[in-house]
Amino acid sequence: MPAALLGWTDTLVQGVMLGGLYGLFAVGLSLVFGVMRIVNIAHGDLIVLAAFGAIVATSASGTVPAPGLPLWIAAPLVVAAMYAFGYILQRGVLNTTIAGGELPPLLVTFGVSIVIQNLLLEFYSADPRSLAAGGLETRSVELFAGVTVGVLPLATLAIALGITAFLQWLFGRTNIGRAFRAASDDPEIAGLMGIATRHVYALATALALAVVAIAGMLLAVRTTVAPADGPNNLIYAFEAVIIGGLGSFWGTLAGGVILGISQAIGFRLSPGWGAFAGHIVFLAILALRPQGLFPRTRTQA
């Protein structure tokens, strides 16, 4: 393969890998918005919170009690804890604000974001931390001559694909999925049909936070996390959701991958253009196709 072509192939491959991470960030956001119409400003902070949960669970020393669990035990525990936290957050806090329209829950999630940042800062200081994954972070495989990708980004993409497939199946093929869609389309009628919307909402947020937990742990292996890092993760998740279109998980993942590729191409042209190229694609789609590239057009499952 000629060198220039190889360079662009590498750029595309790295962009797809980056897109996997963005897609994973976005799926949880898309789920909460899709079912409850809640714009979760705390999404990025919840990612950081989950990352801290895993870091604390796996670290063996420190000023705060640290159980020093191996990662393969800690990871499912963190997912379960975030699932439970999501249920409580929705049932105990967000459900009480949902009747007042879209603004009150948005403001509440904004508050949750501030609370998470400050609690993390208070307990764990501003130190950047990361999750040790036993050398996985630096391992790589050669896809074909001249293009090597890290095992971690590859795993992130695979996990994003797996989670998206699972959610799409759950929403399309199961009773709880039908309940999610019904509660989303018309909570009142759904209630009359015997669906406990408050419980269904809580389950949706719980599910979203379980995905957030996985995203947070992968982020903490990839880079460092500090209490104030949350909002920065939010913006790319938002962009991926908007590009992909609301309501379709495959669309959201595709949105993430499109964002990742746009950024990678931008980076290649000039390092300063990466994030910018992503924003341009996002704005272009918002202007030309506000419903997103892959909106939910199916009316029947």
Binding site: G7, D10, T11, Q14, G15, L18, L21, Y22, T63, I114, N118, L121, S125, A126, D127, P128, R129, S130, A132, G135, E137, T138, R139, S140, T148, V149, G150, V151, L152, P153, R222, T223, T224, V225, A226, P227, A228, D229, N232, Y236, G260, Q263, A264, F267, R268, S270, P271, G272, G274, A275, F276
Partner: protein, 429 residues
């Protein structure tokens, strides 16, 4: 989210002092302003990034303020003992917030002297506020060029109210090239400069690294400024691999460096030397890199082996570090010495001041400072420019430690031979 750190005990002391002043007022019938002066106290305002992304720099502030408040119950000014109050405000690592709290300290808290530290985002807006409001200001912990030129300073004029002590870009360039010249490489350097105040200053084609490196025979590969908190550095890594850069330098924040450094390993890029400003200053950031932290090099502003003593407490650098570590259960940080030195200079200025109500007099006292502090001598001699006093800088390498996971050893002291070497610089494996 406002972080205000007032000392209750001090307030109580103040009430007591006010009571004593009332009691003695009768005895000093002729000294009419005696009551007012007895109740007068010195208020020091201190702004630092305690929360937000730059909070690692401000981490030692609380400890230093507590230590100082315990020490400085009163200070003797023009023969009179005056109670001292320190008001610590958090800039939240945000320049707008920094300007806001500075204005609040000046206009609402009515402080007598402003202290500010840590990164241009905090020092610059605070110094600007002091300039506008004619408040004497002592500043530190920010390379002097972003502080001076970043605020539109002209070398021949300088500033009226704010004085700064720290090192500059020329020092970090010298320290880095000294380190690189002490080992065998192909002298091809990869540059990682973000699009922020520090990154633009470091990468500046006239005043930054590029001309200095060219003079010393290094070839710099600079792909251009990147956005802070970038998630992917594959493009830069590909460029560095292609040019076979054996040295990586730049000014990065910890999350960007970790992303870059793990991706570099994943994509098979293995330089021999990595000397980065900002990201590699503090031990927790190195620990967060896991095994990838071993052997990275950085500039060292201050550390436990620096041969200086505090003019206030008499502690050596090593003693201050041990006191900090045992009180906070944290590994020392370089900003500790500078935060401490800020109060050394403030105390020295107040001691020499003729009156606390004479702001220009206080400012002149700052300008006339000649003090040997825990970070080295501080004196504003007009060099390199007015309002700037330079402190020494050396080169350090992070190695696996005994007490802590990583320890910072001084490996190059050509710029300041007084600072003892802790080891010999090693290449990355």
């Amino acid at each position: 989210m406002s972080q205000e750190h007032r000392h209750q005990s001090n307030r109580r002391r103040l009430i007591k002092a006010a009571g004593a002043a009332t009691a003695s007022a009768g005895l000093e019938l002729l000294g009419a302003p005696a009551f007012a002066q007895g109740a007068r106290r010195i208020k020091l305002g201190y702004v630092a990034p305690i929360t937000g992304p730059l909070a690692s720099f401000g981490e030692p502030c609380r400890y230093v303020v507590d230590q100082m408040q315990a020490r400085f119950k009163t200070i003797s000014i023009a023969g009179r003992s005056v109670p001292v109050e320190i008001v610590l405000k958090d800039s939240q690592s945000n320049s707008n917030r920094a300007a806001e709290v500075a204005a609040e300290l000046i206009l609402k808290d009515r402080i007598d002297l402003m202290l500010v530290s840590s990164t241009p985002d905090t020092t610059n807006p605070v110094a600007d506020q002091c300039e506008v409001n004619e408040m004497p200001c002592i500043s530190t912990d920010c390379p002097w060029q972003p502080w001076f030129f970043g605020r539109g300073g002209k070398p021949e004029v300088g500033f009226k109210w704010a004085y700064h002590f720290f090192w500059g870009l020329e020092d970090v360039i010298e320290v880095f090239t000294n380190m690189w010249n002490s080992v065998q490489t192909n002298k091809v350097v990869a540059g990682m400069f973000p699009n922020d105040a520090d990154g633009n200053a470091w990468g500046d084609p006239k005043l930054g690294l590029p001309p200095a490196l060219a003079r010393q025979g290094f070839k710099l590969i600079d792909p251009g400024r990147y956005q802070v908190l970038t998630n992917d550095f594959s493009a830069q890594i590909a460029a560095f691999k292609k040019a076979n850069c054996e040295i990586v330098t730049g000014n990065m924040i910890p999350p960007d460096f970790k992303t870059f450094w793990t991706q570099a390993r994943q994509q098979g890029y293995r330089p021999k030397v990595v000397s980065i400003g900002k990201a590699l200053l503090f031990a927790p950031a190195i620990e967060a890199l896991g095994d990838l932290g071993d052997g990275l090099t950085s500039e060292v502003w201050w550390g436990p082996t620096h041969p200086f003593k505090s003019s206030l407490t008499g502690q050596s650098a090593g003693q201050l570090v041990s006191a900090y570590e045992s009180a906070t259960k944290r590994q020392w940080a370089q900003s500790l010495g500078f935060s401490h030195a800020l109060f050394e200079v403030a105390a020295d200025v107040l001691k020499r001041a003729r009156s606390i109500d004479d702001k220009p007099g206080l400012r002149d006292a700052i300008a006339a400072t000649k003090l040997s502090t825990i970070v080295g001598p501080v004196a504003w001699t007009g060099k390199p420019v007015k309002n700037i006093s330079k402190t020494p800088l050396v080169g350090g390498q992070w190695v696996k430690g005994k007490r802590y996971k990583y320890e910072l050893l001084v490996v190059n002291n050509k710029t300041a031979p007084g600072v003892p070497l802790g080891g010999k610089m090693k290449l990355l494996s």
